[in-house]
């Protein structure tokens, strides 16, 4: 490595550079600076949160069935038990925000506008999936909805999301990038590179760490010597730990984090504590999980908990909740039919698309949070 002794540029120059980079994009606000309501969620929002979690659960259950029917080639991954994390966090984002969604975060895809039929088609390798069969299971992202899809190597997407956030920073845009990683991938060098880079540049990014207790079969105590949330400080930004099975808690944490990011205050690491209720993949029987642990977490199922809370605290009737569930199930069934009707891809397309002929543009995702509708209609954001 060539010695870089900085002889040419003085330390003062470096500081200037650093200041300019970190300072760029210091926000003008444009958010509702006074957190007017103690809760930022309307009744409709709450119903949506429930709906999206239920949709994720129903779609993944359908997918498992298809897998067991031999219709899903390769491996099968799901995020059973973790629905609150992807739904709660992605619900916060605005249309022009961007995501890199990971394999246990199907809920985020649904929030942003991907329909269950396309998800199922991708698992089955059909032409109607977002990758047209080029990649399988959760390795997809609809560019038209502002998502760059994941790769197998973890946590590579942390750096890609950082790159998108870098662009927002350089251009002074009040946009946020959000991505996910499991607690296991925090052991990887690229996690460090991403956290460090984001911290140095003060990027508008929300890192959502899903601590689901196991990285495949490896328990936490073999993955790290200190709780990952405590590492955030070492990179120069806050770390927040929340109950990953409480969708509103996740939502709140994500909301605060995106607000920080938009204000130019830089990254946040949100550690969501949860439990992976299925195997690493369908091929994994989870024999390494102590049964009592499994039992304990089963009591804290995020969807069940929220359905109870909707009735108990937010004025929903049990029927209302059930009808949402039923509606979702019917919708997912209908989507399954659509997916099954999608043909297998034409082999001739196998060699197509290696190179781009022209640049592409990421589109905007759906933003169902009522805030965005209110803001668009009401104020001057």
């Amino acid at each position: 490595m060539e010695p870089g002794n900085g002889a040419v540029a003085s330390d003062r120059a470096r500081d200037e550079v650093g200041d300019r980079v970190r300072g760029a994009g210091a926000g003008t606000g444009g958010l509702e600076a006074s957190a007017a309501t103690h809760s930022h969620l309307t009744r409709e929002d709450r119903a949506n949160l429930f709906r999206y979690m239920a949709m994720m659960r129903a779609a993944e259950e359908r997918a498992i069935t298809l897998y067991r029917q031999g219709k899903v080639p390769g491996s099968f991954y799901d995020g059973c038990g973790q629905e609150a994390i992807s739904v709660g966090s992605s619900y916060v984002l605005g249309p022009s925000d961007r995501m890199c969604i990971l394999h246990r975060d199907l809920g985020a895809h649904f929030v942003r506008g991907v329909t269950p039929d396309r998800y199922l088609a991708n698992y089955m390798g059909r032409a109607g999936g977002p990758t047209g069969g080029k990649d399988g299971n959760m390795h997809f992202g609809d560019l038209e909805l502002g998502c760059v899809g994941m790769v197998s190597m973890l946590p590579d997407m942390a750096l890609v999301a950082s790159g998108m956030a870098l662009k927002f920073k350089l251009r002074g845009e009040q946009r946020v990038a959000m991505t996910y990683f499991g607690e296991g991938s925090t052991a990887n060098g690229q996690w460090h590179e991403a956290m460090n880079f984001a911290g140095v540049y003060g990027l508008p990014i929300v890192f959502v760490l899903e601590n689901n207790q196991f990285a495949y079969s490896t328990p936490n105590e073999l993955e790290f010597a200190v709780d990952p949330v405590e590492r955030a400080g070492a990179y120069g930004f806050p770390g927040v730990k929340v109950d990953g099975n409480d969708v509103e808690a996740v939502f709140e944490a994500a909301r605060a984090a995106t607000e920080r990011a938009r204000s130019g205050e830089g990254p946040t690491l949100i550690e969501c504590v949860t439990m992976r209720m299925h195997g690493h993949g369908a091929h994994d029987d989870m024999r390494y999980v102590p049964p009592e642990m499994f039992e304990e977490w089963a009591q804290r199922d995020p969807i069940e908990r929220y359905s109870e809370r909707l009735v108990a605290e937010h004025g929903f009737s049990a029927d209302e909740v059930e009808s949402i569930r039923a509606e979702v199930k019917a919708y997912v069934d209908e989507c399954a039919q659509t997916a099954l009707a999608s043909p297998m891809p034409d082999p001739a397309t196998a060699t197509e698309g290696v190179f781009a002929d022209a640049p592409t543009e990421l589109g905007d995702g759906r933003a169902p949070w009522s805030y965005w509708t209110r803001t668009a209609e009401g104020s001057v954001a």
């Binding site: 490595m1 060539e2 870089g4 900085g6 040419v8 540029a9 120059a13 470096r14 200037e16 550079v17 300019r20 980079v21 760029a24 961007r98 890199c100 977002p130 990758t131 080029k134 990649d135 390795h139 997809f140 992202g141 560019l143 760059v148 899809g149 790769v151 197998s152 190597m153 590579d156 942390a158 750096l159 890609v160 999301a161 950082s162 790159g163 998108m164 956030a165 870098l166 662009k167 927002f168 350089l170 990038a177 060098g189 690229q190 590179e193 991403a194 460090n196 880079f197 140095v200 698309g353 290696v354 190179f355 781009a356 002929d357 022209a358 640049p359 592409t360 543009e361 990421l362």
Partner: protein
């Protein structure tokens, strides 16, 4: 036109594109305040500001990975690996994310990775490599390797404008030793087009990068009717030019400084054998470094890297066949 060194041409090309297109930015280690380990970006931060010339931590995956994200969002990052050898520290992002994103998802990744490569100055095993073959085995990456100052500027411009990730092999040994006339202002050389560096009838040397100069010198000194084809682009490869030359002369020597096994030479040789078999008057030969890490001590390094005498001998043999 202006006369400049190969290095100056790279700077010039980069500067021109940054002036022309504000989505172009530079990202790498020591490139901003320090002007780059080889001074390619000297003066850039003063002209373009810290928002377009980013000094990064020592993190190659971060450089490349964030470049992917930024490119997906419409910027055109030009990453610098301080030495081509360090691409191994960023290899994952390059081959698994950048290379495959369009194929899998239709997302174009318009970025350039500048890779100062090559040996000949006792750089040792980690500062002397020519790793282009790694990239050629990763579908989705374009690879270029200029040999002249003109092409250094022209190919960089084309690389920046291409909507795909491009590995730009800049040979360190050519930085100050190769000079040439370079068009001023906007100058782009189409990717995938080889150049006839020297016309000949008796044999063809198909080559790129530093070996182009070896071939031209050898042809001069031998005084023989040797054709030299400068490939310039390795992916896409100008198969038409290769085959036209092979068919014309019937004798082909493929030459490169990179090591032998499964290098560009192997690819070209296979192509010629398959498509021009009936025009061959001699077996296709290769002149390359052997499959050895590049050693440090001068006599060892010279024994490994192809020298002018090696080129002359290889040409003589093939001519005599």
């Amino acid at each position: 036109m202006a006369e400049m060194t190969y290095l100056e041409a790279i700077s010039d090309g980069l500067r021109e594109e940054m002036r022309r297109d504000e989505s172009v930015l530079c990202i790498g280690e020591d490139i901003g305040a320090f002007g780059g380990a080889f001074k390619v970006t000297d003066g850039f931060i003063e002209e373009f500001g810290a928002g377009r010339v980013l000094d990064t931590p020592l993190a190659e995956n971060a450089i490349i990975g964030t470049a992917v994200g930024a490119a997906a969002e419409g910027l055109r990052p030009v990453c610098e690996m301080q030495f081509a050898d360090f691409i191994s520290c960023g290899f994952d992002q390059l081959v698994n994310v950048a290379a495959k994103l369009h194929y899998r998802q239709g997302v174009a990744v318009p970025m350039v990775v500048r890779l100062p490569s090559g040996g000949g100055f006792s750089g040792g095993p980690f500062h002397s490599q020519n790793p282009e073959a790694w990239f050629l085995q990763s579908p989705g990456l374009r690879v270029v390797a200029p040999a002249t100052a003109d092409d250094a500027k022209g190919l960089l411009t084309a690389a920046i404008r291409d909507p795909n990730p491009v590995c730009y092999m800049e040979h360190k040994g050519l930085y100050r030793y190769v000079k040439g006339e370079v068009p001023e202002g906007e100058h782009s050389v189409e990717l995938g087009r080889a150049r006839v560096a020297r016309e000949g009838e008796e044999m063809s040397v198909i080559t790129y990068g530093s070996a182009v100069h070896l071939a031209l010198d050898a042809a001069e000194e031998l005084g023989e009717d040797i054709e030299v084809i400068d490939l310039r682009s390795l992916c896409p490869l100008d198969t038409d030019a290769i085959l036209a030359s092979a068919r014309k002369t019937g004798k082909v020597l493929v030459a490169h400084e990179a090591t032998q096994s499964c290098g560009v030479g192997a690819e070209v040789a296979a192509l010629v054998a398959a498509e021009a078999f009936e025009d061959l008057d001699a077996p296709v030969r290769r002149l390359t470094a052997p499959d050895v890490p590049i050693p440090f001590s001068p006599p060892l390094e010279q024994a490994v890297l192809p020298q002018l005498d090696d080129m002359k001998e290889a040409c003589r043999e093939l001519l005599a066949y």
